[in-house]
Symmetry: C2
Subunit: 343 residues, 2 copies
Amino acid sequence: MIKIAVDAMGGDFAPEEIVKGVEAARDRYDDLTFLLFGTENQVKPLIQNMDRLTLIGTTEEIEMGEEPVKAMKNKPNSSLVRAAQAVKDGQADAFFSAGNTGAILAASIFIIGRIRGVERPALASAFPCFGGGHDEFVFMDLGANAENKPSHLYQYGILGSFYAESVMGIKNPRVRLLNNGGEEDKGDEVHKAAHQLMKDTDAFNFLGNVESREIMDGTADVVVADGFSGNATLKAIEGTALTMMDQLKQSIKGSGIRGMLGALLLKPALRSLKHKLDFNENGGAVVLGVKAPVVKTHGSAKANAVANSMGQIKRMVQENLVGKTTDFIKENAEQLKVKKSSK
Amino acid sequence: MIKIAVDAMGGDFAPEEIVKGVEAARDRYDDLTFLLFGTENQVKPLIQNMDRLTLIGTTEEIEMGEEPVKAMKNKPNSSLVRAAQAVKDGQADAFFSAGNTGAILAASIFIIGRIRGVERPALASAFPCFGGGHDEFVFMDLGANAENKPSHLYQYGILGSFYAESVMGIKNPRVRLLNNGGEEDKGDEVHKAAHQLMKDTDAFNFLGNVESREIMDGTADVVVADGFSGNATLKAIEGTALTMMDQLKQSIKGSGIRGMLGALLLKPALRSLKHKLDFNENGGAVVLGVKAPVVKTHGSAKANAVANSMGQIKRMVQENLVGKTTDFIKENAEQLKVKKSSK
């Protein structure tokens, strides 16, 4: 049995959609059990069936806009902090939340704790790509860090490779560094130094730089970015996709009956496009580099996305992602230290 | 009469499309004259009419992949270097090229020269936005610099505001800083410090941070970014737009007759969307902070984009963009120095 600690109060549609998603996952996967942390009188009435669910009453909530580290410290009885604490205390195997990203990161790092030897955990997500033989690639760091050192980026190659291989089933994942040009001397000092560390390693399969224009082309299974430009790239992709969908709708509306009819005929094609691009539906972002699986879905996640994230956690636990990563880093501690000091 | 020095050999479709575009601009604007720099036996046969055109034979070409500074130094008789040199020597008012971006930047900075007081010239471009009262905003630095200091970003607020106001006719342009969150304490050290410099200034109208997800929403007339994340954001937007268009086509093809018919009916709507998003068609990227207008169109620019860029240069010269910027920086030298030392 795999036990998942769930923050039932985090997210735009919490607790309703979280509880619904948890129950869907419970019915879908018979080896999952859940510790639900949330305000009892709000969560209890929503539960259809207590099978493999335990509700633990909490009295505080961390809001979306709160300053993460402060919120974590000031609200020890919040659903988010209590769920992370349950993992730390060994009562659960993994932590799930759709709440405040910063607070989830803070709780992951300060409560659950970093894997020994990992300098900076990162936020990673599977992203759709078109071509290259796989449907998705791992993109990290998406903003856990406002700035990174070369050694952090080097470690992300390791963390991302383990995720791609264990959870996504990609053999010998191709790792690339997000940079502003293909040549190895491109970029600022951090990216130049990171490229050199990655180029010389045998810890993963490094194939060089990739530009943000090409990350969806399928030439990489793991794209490593510093948190600042990874975050900017992620949000630019989301913003462009939304803007285009919106403008397409406007253009259709503006072209009268003809446009409406065309749109009606194209509905299946448009729906399939939307589905392909909807990377939030297939699971959540993961915090890599901490001592347990942590998954954070989009704040606006509905029940189905929540349930899919539970499937993702199940794979992470079953494949022993954290254990494998920990062992590798331990066994290669000397090599990693050399890497670190040469940055 | 405004004299434009043109690198006739730079770009994927040079010299054909460059010469065609120059002739179209000559016929469109009667106050423009052109110095065409290029390989005589290639360029001369393409010219229909020598009215207001002077061809100056050159013997070298800088290729797209060449290392910029080296290429500039090793090929003094290239069309690109000679065109920049003509501006430096006072024989022309502005420099145009569709060639190697790095070499254009290098020639702009090292041959034409920085405006006194400008620390780091930047690459800027007008970008489409949807909402906010204007169709376009200025986005910079798009990658002239691999890394920037806070004082550079502060200066980009000045350079971008003058461009938006003089060339795009936007009064009191709203400036925002591209960052990974809205609050002033967001970002790495560079962006936090830049925010403080910008917040306290009366040199331009600063409205705070913007995330890359929202840059096309029209809340800013000038978006200032460091060259690394500006470049990543630009390329992510381009890549996403291309991927979506491509995937939409695939989805349409995959849905048979029904999809084909729908696409046919939607053709005007799709064309209008494509047109709105095609920021390369309306003009080129400009190098801001150097002593003359410099415009670089996309390497794949066709004649119409080239001609539109000439219109853009015409406005820059007529509005005395460089003179206004130079005077402002001179008059505010003390204030700018204070800013610089506080970074």
